[in-house]
């Protein structure tokens, strides 16, 4: 595989984490413009754990998950009474607040390989984990892809649980959900928290892969892309966000020969997809139809 292809695939894998985290919040009926901040927190935590503290990959990513999930938990409690547009704006404010605070975080250590540690606007440089451990780009892709695969399998398994089913009911119609005895609060809090953790995990991998991170990388456009991927891909099944990422980045890369015109083509295509598939490609409707057909076949 060429290095170009490996890099593209790795980027697609990493951005999938943010798409899935947007997807998890969309399931409970909210739109978050703030997942990029949890991605960023995960990146900083992982960078600190590996470069400054010298921790293992697994422990570093575990910390990334826990810390960003805790921040998301705070967000979910702060926004208990908000929904719709107001939740979207609150999530964006929260994200920007966290991102801008990163400009003020300075703690650097001089080493043989240069300055490491968060250094305000200059970011966190020299995250040398992949060099220290001799991880080739292919191997890193395998690490990222297998984590993504594990996450997807987990989500597919959880789709059939009451937790996910009830969460979808809350997302569709909160008043009906309440009037059949579901407590929306529980599902909102757990999904927003889980989404934060997932984004943080992806951010952790991103920091290791990129070897350099700075606060400006985690701006709103990152979160908007994540949202767009899961909306294009559809909210019916955990594979939806992946499909969205695949269509978006895959397409953008494949039409690179069009140079500056490709964004125009891309914008038009996203619009066209949403006209043809208003609920995304793998929509809840499509999934329920496929499931019903499967059940009929097994019964016949």
């Amino acid at each position: 595989m060429s290095l170009y292809l490996v890099t593209i695939l790795t980027n697609m894998t990493l951005i999938s984490f943010i798409a899935i985290s947007a997807y998890l919040i969309l399931i409970v009926g909210e739109v978050s413009f703030g997942q990029q901040a949890f991605f960023g927190i995960g990146a900083y935590v992982t960078a600190t754990s590996t470069a400054l503290l010298g921790l293992d990959l697994v422990i570093a990513l575990f910390f990334a998950f826990i810390v960003s999930a805790s921040f998301a938990l705070v967000l979910s409690f702060l926004t208990v009474r908000l929904s719709g547009l107001y939740f979207a704006v609150a999530s964006l404010c929260f994200a920007e607040l966290l991102r801008l605070s990163l400009y003020k975080v300075e703690y650097t250590v001089e080493t043989n390989s240069g300055t490491i540690g968060p250094n305000g606007p200059e970011g966190f440089q020299n995250i040398r984990w992949i060099f220290e451990n001799n991880i080739s780009p292919e191997n890193f892709l395998i690490i990222a892809l297998s984590s993504l695969l594990a996450l997807i399998l987990f989500l597919i398994f959880m789709e059939s649980s009451k937790l996910f089913k009830n969460a979808r009911l809350v997302g569709k119609d909160q008043i009906v959900a309440q009037s059949i005895g579901i407590k929306p609060f529980v599902y909102r809090v757990s999904f927003i928290t889980l989404a934060g953790g997932v984004a943080g995990f992806g951010g952790g991998l991103f920091a290791l892969f990129n070897t350099y991170i700075e606060p400006s990388m985690f701006g709103i456009m990152l979160g908007v892309h994540g949202l767009a991927y899961s909306i294009i891909g559809g909210l019916g099944y955990p594979l939806g966000p992946l499909l969205g990422v695949f269509i978006d980045i895959g397409l953008l890369e494949s039409v690179r020969f069009l140079s500056e015109y490709r964004m125009i083509l891309f914008g038009g295509l996203v619009a066209a997809i949403l006209i043809i598939f208003p609920e995304g490609i793998i929509s809840p409707r499509l999934v329920s139809r496929i499931k019903r057909n499967l059940v009929k076949k097994t019964n016949a």
Partner: protein, 246 residues
């Protein structure tokens, strides 16, 4: 059973419900009627906890529920249908009932089954409810593909699935023809046979007059009359409210 005491609710400056008091006894079918905008649906929403009451108290079986959130009121035995049908249209008929079996007292399953399994017992229970509601042959169909009358029946099925003591029906006959109203009337009487108590908010007098034991009449959020159907029909105040007299 249901005891409503001096409840009030303001929306801005409008008194949607004003010092309303009435009670529904166990096994009764009580009708709540009134002209448009008289506060009937608001009353239902207050009982369910969609909005909190500003004043007064609502109690079920002598337990004050006016401060509880909606899902806890459901647990204490209240369920409802909606004026504008609110089903999960992309789910099948049986799934729409299944969602209401949140705490199913009919079974004791392990948590794995509770969380992942649609066990046989549950399906049998759902089938039973659907047959009772006249939807036995639509088990696997999509809720969105049902006719209007069938969707109403499915809402009713979902409402009784949580094993409530009190069912609140919010204009179940809206948009029905007279055959469907007759069918609905029988279904409401069936609910009483099951031992349920029913509070019926309705415009269709053909239904109300023929099914309820007692009627409470609202106008501008206030109770203007209460009594059995014959008395209400003769009541001058009620006639004025409906005919728009001074």
């Amino acid at each position: 059973m249901l005891n409503i005491e001096n409840i009030g609710k303001n929306f801005g400056g409008v008194k949607a419900v004003d010092d309303l008091t009435f009670r529904v006894d166990k096994g009764e079918i009580v009708g709540l009627i009134g002209p448009n905008g008289s506060g009937k649906s608001t009353t239902i929403n207050l009982i369910c906890g969609v909005f909190p009451v500003d004043l007064g108290s609502i109690s079920v079986d002598d337990r004050n529920i006016s401060k509880l959130p909606t899902h806890e009121r459901v647990a204490s035995g209240i369920s409802r249908t909606f004026q504008n049908i609110r089903l999960f249209k992309e789910l099948s008929v049986w799934q729409n009932v299944w969602v209401a079996l949140q705490k199913d007292s009919y079974q004791s399953l392990g948590w794995m089954q509770e969380w992942f399994g649609n066990s046989k017992i549950q399906k049998e229970r759902i089938k039973e409810i659907l047959v009772f509601s006249g939807l036995g042959d639509r088990f696997d169909d999509l809720a969105g593909n049902l006719s209007f009358g069938e969707q109403r029946r499915l809402e009713l099925a979902r409402a009784i699935a949580s094993k409530p003591k009190l069912v609140l029906l919010d204009e179940p006959a809206a948009g029905m023809n007279s055959d469907e109203v007759a069918d609905l009337r029988q279904r409401i009487l069936d609910l009483r046979e099951l031992g349920l108590t029913v509070l019926l908010v309705e415009h269709v007098m053909e239904l109300v007059m023929n099914v309820v034991d007692r009627i409470v009449v609202l106008n501008f959020g206030k109770k203007i009359a209460e009594g059995n159907p014959q008395d209400i029909q003769k009541n001058i105040e009620v006639q004025k409210a409906y005919l728009g007299g001074a």
